[in-house]
């Protein structure tokens, strides 16, 4: 089974702090994604990556950046955390985008910014 591991289950940070969310997958998947999940809004795509050192903006990239230095690891960075970034963050991986491969999700990181 594919495993996607997010380093933290819960995080509490102060406004203005730099925050790192880490995600590791163990199935050599090409694609990796970061979503945020808010009630009534579903999952919104922040950033994604098709390969090492490649990144693409999703629908809500403002205030975030990403890093993919190794194929198995995809990091989400909040340069200066703000209270409106309090949310559930979900990392996902996928083998490829062109054969209806499913997304495999981690269990999420619930971030609270105070």
């Amino acid at each position: 089974d594919v495993k996607v591991t997010q380093s933290s289950r819960y995080l509490v940070k102060r406004t203005g702090e730099k925050v790192f969310l880490e995600c590791v997958q163990d199935m050599d998947h090409e694609n990796m994604f970061w979503y945020r999940q808010d009630p009534g809004l579903g999952l919104r795509l922040i950033y994604f990556s098709y390969d090492v050192k490649m990144k693409e903006k999703g629908d809500i990239p403002e205030g975030y950046s990403v890093s993919r230095e190794k194929k198995e690891r995809f990091s989400l960075i909040l340069e200066s955390a703000s209270t409106n970034q309090t949310s559930m963050y979900l990392c996902a991986s996928r083998r490829t985008g062109f054969d209806n491969s499913p997304l495999h999700f981690g269990n999420g990181t619930r971030l609270t910014v105070t």
Partner: protein
């Protein structure tokens, strides 16, 4: 950005009842996936539908893709407490990007 609207947003029913969840868009998708998310976990894929009009069954769950590939439905027969969770549809654009629906939270009481 395309929007996928799901209805209802919340559903609270007794064990044994039937229910249908709808996923609607004004845009055409190349395929559509349904995921279920249980508390404290990430979403897990239930099914992928690809062809307009396609119907797939997964035990008591029946998934249908609209003829025009703009909408989908999920029907659960004789719901059980184990069906409780957040149901998410996700449409694949021609660029292979997935657009997620707004979600339907189902609670099944024994």
């Amino acid at each position: 950005t395309q929007l996928l609207e799901q209805s209802p947003q919340f559903l609270s029913i007794q064990e044994g009842e039937n229910l249908t969840v709808y996923c609607n868009s004004s845009s055409v998708f190349s395929s559509l996936q349904w995921y279920r998310q249980e508390p404290g976990e990430g979403p897990v894929l239930l099914v992928t539908v690809v062809t307009g009009g396609e119907v797939k069954k997964l035990k008591r769950l029946t998934f249908q893709f609209g003829d025009a590939r703009k909408d989908s439905s999920l029907h659960i027969t004789a719901a059980q407490p184990g069906d409780t969770g957040l149901y998410l549809c996700a449409g694949a654009e021609i660029t292979d990007k997935l657009i997620f629906g707004t979600g339907t939270r189902l609670q099944v009481f024994p």
